[in-house]
Amino acid sequence: MATMKFMCDAERCIECNGCVTACKNANEVEWGIQRRRVVTLDDGEPSEVSISVACMHCDDAPCIAVCPTETLYQRDDGIVLHDKDLCIGCGYCLYACPFGAPQFPQQSAFGERGKMDKCTFCAGGPADSKEEEYAKYGANRIDEGKLPLCAEMCSTKALLAGDAQEIADIFRQRVVRRGHEDGGWSGNPRADADSLAYDATQQG
């Protein structure tokens, strides 16, 4: 079975926010919620770097672990989905998530937050009909054999989505093509000292 993952090649991301717009449009996400965001670090400095972030569909996802109602669950293909009927709006997933993926439509007194919403990897969610599914969760492109629209529409192909193995292969080829001495994320002369396995901000 495939394990679905997102990966953003920070070397290629040009902060166009096309992924954000594509996601909003594909899923008709409700006002005030933005499932995908583009983060820019060191804006305006020589080391400026941008990266597109949404739900990372973690293995051993913290949101699933802390949810009191089993709203969140992981499919066999690694996609983390949520069941809006079970959500009580406690906000625990928001506390736990390292990427700020879960969001709530409200933030009112007595913990009235409404139902949580987050990226579904364009795989919809539990519902009785196609219409209900679209209204609650947005598009189910995976069901139609398509990848998430954010990645499909990425103008520089910075954002990759799909089977982890295939994405890794594409990225590996890019790294080889780029010809870095010490891997795709780094051209850091101190790379030996900073033995960080995954560093989205280091460019080379």
């Binding site: 080391s47 913290p62 109602t69 079970l86 998530c97 007595f110």
Partner: protein
Amino acid sequence: MSIAMRDSWRLALTALLVALMLVALGQQARAQDATPGEANPGQEAAFAVPAVDADAWRQIRSGETDANFRDSRAESTYNLINASGETWRQIRDRWVSPFGAIAILGMLAVLLVFYLVVGRQRLDEPRTGRKLLRWPVLDRALHWSVASLFILLGLTGLLLLYGKALLRPVFGDGAWAGLMTGTKTLHNYLGPLFAIMLLLVLARFLRHNLPKRHDLEWLRQGGGMVGKGHPDAGFANAGEKLWYWLLASVGLVVVVSGLVLDFPNFDQARDTMQWANVIHALGALGLTAVALGHIYIGTIGTEGVLEGMTHGYVDESWARQHHNLWYEEVKGKTDEAAPEEEKSDAPSASRPPG
């Protein structure tokens, strides 16, 4: 003549510039030819941006954002990665949850063993039938308001923490969703009410619970369990005072942390919420465990105690045995306490004697 010379000089200069441009273009074209097919590490390294160093990376993981952080999401201060969420999850799931289960189940086990081994604390002397007013109606109303809110909040809180493991397998999706929605709504709306009632009851009972010298002796004798006879106690014994001050300290911490969690509309940072949640859960679970002890001592654990909180009056012999100093203070008022009227009011006049 001079004009022609100037023209030829210009022509030569132009020719030189064109030649230079052609050479430059040629070099560029050759460079571009080389790019697509093969790697050129030197070239890419020349325009690649410098690396973000380890300190910057640590700062990102801390969740804090600096002046040059941009997020395309509206009103988001959420950094690229915020590792504190995982820390909170580990504290909550690996420490708080087991602690609560051990504290509460452990207390239940201790109480059960205590009841089976030691049994009920009987009255030393038979009831005299003369009643003393212990808890006026306002005190009782306050006590039972706080008590029922405490029990409701405790049960809903336990459901939020353990319900998924214990009850989820029993329910279908619909019933489970309804139960948990009700649970969270009750917990969130009764919480502030509990805060108000707790403050009232603490204010009302303060005068009974000021520490006295004889309380130390009471504690040293374990409330009469160690040694012979009963240690001195005023209106409230040292055990009750401890429970009072536990509620006045830990109880207030639980209330304040609960209010922090209950009102996200004040834009508390996520880190604040995480710590509030841990403190709230630890405090509330601890209090729940101690409350079980309070409930045991106040009901089946001691003969003649519950009627004080249900009807307001206690028997003279109970007062002499458990609160001798208070008894000395009020024994003259026995006759004024109108026990007859109280007895006729009591719906459960046929309480089993002793």
